[in-house]
Symmetry: C3
């Protein structure tokens, strides 16, 4: 018995399936490039064992626990930490049982496929997870986690990861990255510059963060000039820990290119905590343009992840804090929003700005036309809710005809669920091969070209775009 179909995600029609399998055979064993994600560098620095199945698969994965919550299962029952430090379930076996009892809620979701892939291909399990097999599952996985072969570095090597980018705050000391570099382990784990805490006036503790930024860099961040210099210094420091990119998670894709005096005024208001919401938004938008200008100098790739309404449930945020599965996408405009930045730097062929979206309507209407014109723009892969077979299909069908393959950048797993990395890349590779098979069989692409494109989508484009 098997939890995963060896021909999963390939088209069903025999001629198409045969084409897709042939394309996939050429790329299935390529190494993994993971140029954007949220793994914890500490795992690879310390190389300790993962604690238990619940803490590996359930508690840190908002894709999974939010689905259980959406059907009335309490966050306390799932062992999620309360902001007030109140007690929640601590027994990983109980949490695992609840998870198993409700595994059917994930039917038809990519999470189910990623989990089954991990269960089978990482842990060697071949029976379905059900209420009845929950204990057997727990014992089996828990035992494996005690093996050295299941420690983070060993899995990293076994997953054939050529490079893995984590994401750290601009204020992070990157000590875990330093510890990796100081070790004898050759795995390539690099950081990414994520300055939200010091570019978003609405971020908790913004003013204090800016002071800290000054302290770390020795720049006078009470002045805007010093503040910009401090960014330059941190970016340079992040580059010493392998960074090739920065990353920006804003509520919208708004950019600005305002006169210096206006920006300085916004900056001082931001530090004083007196920005209106619109002024805060304008400052964030200005900083995207500033970051792009710094990228012109230092070569970091700029990633924009806009359009998530964070912590939508006030009650959940108050009780459990951030990242609890209540980040909801909203409509995102790119055409007006990006114009100030694009007028400033968009025609620079040496700059790379990678756009992501949670609003699929932008694919064919805005993103593909923009990326199919501006030399600085590339499209990131389907993100978050859309990192799935149907999501990838919609992305390719909506963008390829307008901006081709070469204005896209391959796959990002964007995950903190380490064991899902091979599964996610596999889904991406299979879904792309399914799409390419369709193009070949309908006379839209030659088979030889399709093989080349498959390689590019699985590896080459990410390597080039992220300068890895």
């Amino acid at each position: 018995m098997s939890l995963t179909d060896p021909d999963r995600l390939f088209p069903v029609e025999p001629a198409l399936r045969s084409l897709a399998k042939d394309l996939y055979a050429g790329i299935a064993d390529l190494s993994i490039l993971s140029p954007h994600g949220h793994c914890d560098p500490r795992w690879f620095a310390e190389n300790k064992r993962f604690p238990n199945p619940a803490e590996l698969f359930v508690i840190p994965d908002h894709y999974i626990f939010r689905m259980l919550v959406s059907q009335g299962i309490g966050m306390d029952t799932l062992g999620l930490s309360r902001v007030d430090g109140g007690t929640t379930e601590r027994d990983p076996r109980k949490i695992w049982q609840v998870f198993a009892d409700n595994f059917h809620l994930l039917r038809g979701t990519p999470s189910a496929m990623w989990l089954n892939h991990s269960f089978e291909h990482v842990f060697g399990i071949d029976i379905p997870l059900t209420s009845g097999t929950a204990t057997e599952y727990f014992d089996h996985i828990d035992a494996k986690l005690g093996d050295d072969a299941y420690r983070p570095r060993a899995l990293f090597d076994r997953f054939k990861i050529d490079a893995l980018a984590t994401t750290e705050s601009a204020l992070d000391d990157l000590s875990w990255h330093q510890m990796i570099r100081d070790s004898d382990w050759p795995g390539k784990v690099v950081t990414t510059y994520r300055p939200d805490a010091v570019v978003d006036p609405e971020f908790e503790g913004f003013a204090k963060n800016v002071v800290q930024l000054g302290a770390i860099t020795g720049e006078d961040t009470a002045t805007y000039a010093g503040y910009l210099n401090a960014h330059r210094a941190r970016r340079a420091f992040f580059k010493t820990m392998g960074a090739t990119a920065s990353d920006h998670g804003h509520p919208s894709a708004r950019t600005e290119d305002l006169p210096r005096a206006v920006v300085e005024d916004l900056f001082h208001k931001a530090c004083a905590g007196t920005c209106t919401p619109d002024e805060a938004d304008a400052f964030r938008g200005q900083m995207l343009t500033e970051m792009a200008r710094m990228s012109q100098d230092d070569g970091l790739v700029l990633q924009i992840h806009p359009g998530s309404w964070r912590n939508h449930s006030a009650q959940t945020f108050a009780a459990y804090g951030r990242d609890m599965g209540f980040d909801i996408p909203s409509r995102t405009d790119y055409v007006a929003a990006l114009k100030p930045m694009l007028d400033a730097v968009g025609m620079d062929p040496n700059l790379t700005i990678i756009l992501f979206t949670l609003d699929e309507t932008a694919y064919s209407r805005e993103l593909a036309p923009l990326a199919g014109a501006y030399p600085a723009l590339r499209l990131g892969p389907p993100w978050w809710f859309h990192d799935s077979y149907e999501g990838i299909k919609r992305f390719r069908e909506a963008t390829t005809e307008t901006c081709g393959f070469y204005n896209t950048v391959g796959f990002n797993d964007d995950t903190r669920a380490f064991c899902s990395i091979p599964a996610r890349h596999d889904v991406s590779r299979r879904s792309d091969c399914a799409y390419l098979a369709q193009l070949v069989a309908t006379g839209r692409l030659s088979q030889a070209d399709a093989h080349e494109v498959a390689q590019d989508l699985a590896y080459g484009l990410a390597k080039a775009a992220y300068r890895l």
Copy 2:
């Protein structure tokens, strides 16, 4: 000869088709639950014969007559009633002939499939409707309508309807429902609480309606407290006629949770007819939250049907009134709009709020993420223009990966075209089986699970969500 293909809507690829047929075989004969719709309870109370083919199939069905109107056929020609009482066509045979002459306009639409299904499976016809067969059709159907086997109750039983919900105004005396209950017929016809006339300050006669609401309930609806009590009383009365749900058709999905004093002020303005459009909208939004709170107490399921621009053509509205096929969907936001209500009640696992949309862009961007997080939320099936093979396909493909199957609620036929009920449920069941077959054949769902899900989508989820 046959008007309907026995394998209609199933995938064409043989392996997929075989899977879909197998899934469908397991559910094709399940009874029908119709938890939301607009049939007239009077039909089942009086059990009179339907008058003639034109009044059964053409005149009451805006899907059909608007298509003829869109090609230049006058509403008068189709026998639609004028507001001014002026003469329109009264000969059902003439109307039927115009309908037959233009039947090709419906090619490729679900209406054509529903009609052919009714013609063949309800009336036993096996020749296509054309100009040449119009008279034969009319005679045949008209004769059948005279049979007792074609009276409303007999058809209800023949259609194997386990429960049918109609929709009545909060001010309705539900006398037809009472008459059904007083009869010896065991058919389960239940009402639904639809209070638009007394929650929408822009509804014709709102102030008078609120006075009437007071008179009916013995509450002092000149006060907001009395007004709320009157709602509670009516909801309780509707529950005695089987209601398990309320239904709300607002221009947008806006909700509010305003301070009591502000709401009282809005209420008094609404009664005085002095609300601005924005105040009217705010009051409607507040009432959704109030209705949700009442649902927490009395268990009625809350249905929200937002986003239709009613009576878009001023000329048509003036001449022919409401529901003339000129209700046009518009963009609908849910993320900001629902937040006040969700912050108030969204985490309550004992509450059920069912969201519908005419804006398919919300499926993957807003609705599935919301329903995949908030315990109180479920997604209604594709509505109105999207109640079709392609509409259902888009719905499943866009929502399942994010919120699974168990945050959806099965099918609603939402129709006043009684004979189309079996046809619509059949389209839904076939379309879902086609989708499930695709999942099975591409390794995204086991065949055993697919059979279970097919049962749930066809019957179980509606029963559970609507507490029928």
Copy 3:
């Protein structure tokens, strides 16, 4: 060897493919109607040879050069003219080589299919375009262009074009059209009335253009009444050159039906150059309604092409001017926007207004419901970025179920790339047959009806809608 698959764009499943081929066989050889496009009437008036491959295929085609630009190739390198008259590449062989070197950027795009179709079916080439074959290609095409059989009129005849509409400014003297009419060549080339320069207060030189409009027509365009009369006169003149339609490219679909005094005031502000952006938009919107009223009188079909943000890159516009591939679609509302015009004229069955969109979300949500109700409305085919296999598929799947086939108007190639006309119509015909085959095989349309619909989509609907 062949550059084009004879079964391209047909479904892969054998039964579906067979159905699609059968449908296509019935329409493949129909003549072409090209009721909207941007060919230069001068070609057919003078009938000179096309200069060289680069000037035929690369320099005038923004689909192609923008893709190269998006990957960092300079516009100068591609020989595009600078606004300042500065030097850009003049050697067509060098431009052609750059094009060939980067042909892989077009993989998966409709441009690649159109080009390969032209290379093979117009120029008889059967080897792929690569860096290595660039010179051979250039020589071969250039030699052909010297043949009389490759002059514009000969190609027009060979392409079996029954009628071709060009698009001219309201101020154009239509002398090339006159020259065609004065010639002995029977080819039907007609003009289209495009009055943007005299209805858009933000158009460069609007005031001067209105004066010129007066001069041409002998009307006093200093008054609004004279201005309207001047339009009437020009429309009548355009009709003498075969025009059956007007065309309007506005930033939005906004229409207005304002009181005469307000409009006159807007008109005088527009002529004085003192309109605010909103007033300019209101005036454009009013003029759509006025044009529709004139159409009621003179029978011209009204085409609305809204929603393109023209010249998005300020830097590119400053250096290279208009139409440089930087026109980006944006969200477009129709429901509120069209209401004033529809309330004025939308119920007139003798009027035809054809709506286009670059915002595919409007298909199922707004456009199909509007066209499926208002007698005056029809939907234009997928436009610009969406004139492709996937674009056509999305259009049919999103609109047919709501407005059927008969509220659509067949295909527009909308191109200035003359050699792509047969290729584009072929893509449209094949894509429609693929869609129809799917309907037939899934029991949604009879095979006999599908053959009739295929004819209508390929020829009949365009002929009827455009009154050609």
